[in-house]
Symmetry: C3
Subunit: 412 residues, 3 copies
């Protein structure tokens, strides 16, 4: 039997787990938002998967893995199953690789939806999603995984702390700033008004699904069924998530006196994001450290954004952005092969900083420019104050998330 | 190493995904129904899985895959692991194949539960479930997959657009007509009263789980780990679902001016149902067309049923029935091997129409006859108006789905 | 290709399913508890996974599988990937095996959290979780799976009816007794006050996830991709769960006249627990009997605990404890190799009784002693009556599970 078969099964299994992450994102984002906007959040999340699936097949995959230059790929659009695409690995059928990459691509765009939730206008959000999944994400992906200039420099991002998470967060930050905070979030006196999760069980389930999905996200990025390698990747991914939860919970408790499940859940995600770049070269004990630092960074990031009066309803920017930058740097610190703490000097760390910075800058500036353009279109990028006040579910979807038909009235 | 091993792992993984679809169905059906009946819907869904699991093992598998004639199998009931069953493939251990088929069988019965939700009487519904999963579904399955007459005619239904979905919907239509609409659904003046979903996050999560499960439903139907084949199947399944969502959402928007998440979610399912028969012979670009058409058909089907004053609380009949028939025909249109649009002439299309029609007619008439019989039993097939008015959860289960114990009273 | 690869993929896939069970437990426990404590239940469940992940890696794995004596292992703590650990199987990379065992270990601790929900104090519960997952569970695990004295006696517990479920329930019973019933649960006149599930859809989803996860729990315990063996294991696991549901539902109906979804769901779990010890040697028909008996035992167990005035909000003790003991004995009754009903005499049955008793006694007494110690610490093991009355979510977490911000007020 050919190794292709078992490698393909592993990558497809991983792709299923990554696909399932979209259910996790949908639950986290709708659970963390307010009740009056939950249907719209769900609608946006399913839309992102759908739009990104189509556009990545037609456009994104070719820009990311096609033959091209150091900046962008330019072939392999809507490829046939038998086509040879420059950046695709030998030894995997093309559609196995393409499907894995496709479910990945949608995650970067999904990160944006959380940060602009509860006030972004649907039409322009759809256009932005197309831009993010078909253009921005694939271009950075080409730099790192498609043979582009960061690959040439020796930049290491095994499963996408930078490619997925920093890029998603850069676009999200541009969006949150362009669209502005939710009405009532920040008072004129500088105060910040809490807008707590409307459904914690959904949010917690979503995070557990994301935790599960990450085993495929990181483990599948090996792109082959190498048992020692993937088992280690999965073990450190799990330890980092666990450490991120406990660190975020404890840090918040010490800082505010509160037992804050929201922060703990974001700590899980930050732990996962932080280990993503280096999960193949960081050992179990150090992965706990990475996850714990990631968890604390996410908590501090939430407070920092509040101070900056940037409104990110689900904490996407701290988790994916700050966690992603830290995770990218963590390779330079903890890599068993070339990390600073393993005698590797500053070379790798410098490359990691450069790569994360380049991706963040490109995502933020291209995102900001695109949001700026969209804001000039009729209708703009933000719903009306009336709709926002009433809630998007009733105002735009004509329903409530948990339609109240008191028992007994059904047959009136 | 034997290929049997990797083939078995693939089919078992697929079976797990199909099993998980039952969680998806439970969430979609309970989420879409009214709050006062949510517990009963859940109870029915878990019951369907349980009843179908037992009866398919003892009866259905033998009728479907046993040695028999062109209409029905007649051996292989409750088979031993080492038994040789005529319709089972060589190269897979019998129980691997049986378990995959068993989780499939339960899905057809589950489709019925959605269409008769909120008013079917539990006892007779259980009997009908037994009939559906142990008799009707296996017989049609035998025609197509067990060496029966449709197999001989060259009818193509790779993963069950007809065998599972048309059959399920045929039984469901018979049930919805026999039991009649929910009290208050249709006014005497011909008006239709909306009864919106009581819990959109559950419904959306359910659809995302079904989307995930379908990768196993379609991919596992290859019954072997052929990486090129299954990757293509999974890719087109995904593209068709995405297209179904966007087409249903857009079509509803243009038709009614509404952003309708329910319709979008049913569009996902219709896209999945529509690609199921031909996912092995339809390419990615055409799969998008198939999904989009399926999504539009499902939306129009919902309106059509309303005009016909047939009450289907979750849209099971449009999604599975109309989507299933279209999907079966789509093989005759788009198959790269013998479809009309690929120079194959009308032969295959005619066979596809014949097969879908035969299955629909058999399911509907046997279902109608069985519901008619059940209606003659003491108690009948419908709950009392009092129970329906009050809600089945309180009236029959003695609980509320979201029992309200105001905070602070717990220790009173 | 090496068989190691496919064996590893199977065990990792199984581990993912077992990990997903933690989402199932979180939903079952939060869904079954009262609304006012749902956030705290979720927080505890994510904490258990996190704490157990870290401590089992550092301590528990070595106690369970390290070189040692008949009672305990004493090496292999925080092992390197290349380390050789006495109790680990040849033919699997160490971290594949370790990760599978790690996700298993967390389940035993999770069982406790359900039984002490709604009134255990978080700090001491964390300490107890550490004790359970790092000490008690690994020691019993060593007896059975790590080459300890029960292994030498020929005790059979394939996937943990005793090692996981009896141990978890023994610790849980000790906790429920030490902490005492929820305020208001039992009246001074001996009456018992129902405290029904606050969210049935969550609980039902949780049980379906656990059902799915059990395919990995039992199937993965083969620790190799032997297709005939694992297919049979998965088939009987499924049949036993189905039978457990129908038996519990029917038994409750006959006993109380009620259609009780809670009991049915606990019947599913009891069916799963009951088949866990012998899923590799019990055939399909007998597995249905095992599941049905397990389901009835769980129902009777719930009533028994009520009579004993022990408060177990989610039924963890009947399901895991009584189901686990019965499942362990069921090997002695139904094993095709050496069971009483297959001519094997009483020898195996006696060994099974001895093993289950030893594990139950050890778990209960060590748990009781540890809870007794914890109760002496400042703060004790129970929240204040004020907090319990108000609900732990508001009192300790500062939020409500479903924060009510009436629509329209968001921008006030």
């Amino acid at each position: 039997m050919d190794e292709t078969i078992i490698d393909s099964i592993w990558v497809l299994l991983s792709a299923f787990l990554v696909f399932f992450m979209h259910a996790g994102f949908a639950l986290v984002e709708s659970g963390f938002c307010r009740r009056k906007n939950a249907v719209m959040v769900l609608l946006k999340n399913v839309s992102v998967v759908s739009i990104a699936s189509l556009l990545y097949f037609f456009v994104g995959f070719g820009l990311m893995f096609g033959e091209g230059n150091a900046f962008i790929g330019l072939s392999g659009f809507a490829p046939a199953a038998t086509e040879s695409v420059a950046g695709a690995p030998d030894g995997l059928p093309l559609y196995v690789f393409l499907f894995f990459q496709l479910v990945f691509a949608a995650t970067a765009a999904t990160i944006v939806s959380g940060a602009v939730a509860e006030r972004a206008r649907l039409g322009t959000f759809f256009v932005f999603t197309a831009f993010a999944s078909a253009v921005v994400y694939p271009i950075v992906g080409h730099w790192v995984w498609g043979g582009g200039f960061l690959a040439d420099l020796g930049f290491v991002d095994f499963a996408g702390s930078t490619v997925v998470h920093v890029v998603g967060a850069g676009l999200a930050l541009a969006g949150a700033m362009a669209i502005g905070p939710r009405l009532g979030k920040y008072g004129k006196d500088g105060s910040s008004r809490p807008m707590p999760a409307h459904n914690f069980p959904l949010a917690a389930l979503g995070v557990l699904i994301l935790w599960l999905g990450w085993f495929g996200f990181n483990g599948g990025s090996e792109l082959a069924a190498h048992p020692e390698a993937i088992a280690s990747i999965i073990l450190v991914t799990n330890l980092s998530a666990a450490a991120g939860f406990l660190a975020a919970l404890t840090h918040t408790r010490l800082r505010t006196g509160m037992l804050d499940l929201s922060m703990g859940l974001n700590g899980v995600l930050a732990g996962l994001v932080s280990i993503t770049a280096g999960c193949h070269v960081i050992g179990p004990v150090e992965s706990i450290l990475v996850g714990a630092i990631g968890g604390v960074i996410a908590v501090e990031g939430v407070f920092l954004l509040e101070r900056l009066r940037i409104d990110d309803p689900v904490g996407a920017i701290p988790v994916h952005g700050m966690g992603g930058i830290f995770g990218t740097l963590a390779v330079g610190l903890f890599s068993a092969e070339a990390g600073l703490f393993h005698g590797g000097g500053l070379a790798l760390l410098g490359t990691q900083a450069l790569g994360a910075l380049a991706a963040a800058a490109f995502a933020f500036t291209s995102g900001a420019a695109f949001w700026w353009l969209l804001a000039r279109l009729p209708g703009g990028i933000r719903v009306s104050a009336e709709h926002e006040f009433e809630g998007l579910d009733v105002a735009e979807c004509g329903v409530e998330a948990y339609g109240e038909e008191p028992r007994g009235i059904g047959a009136a």
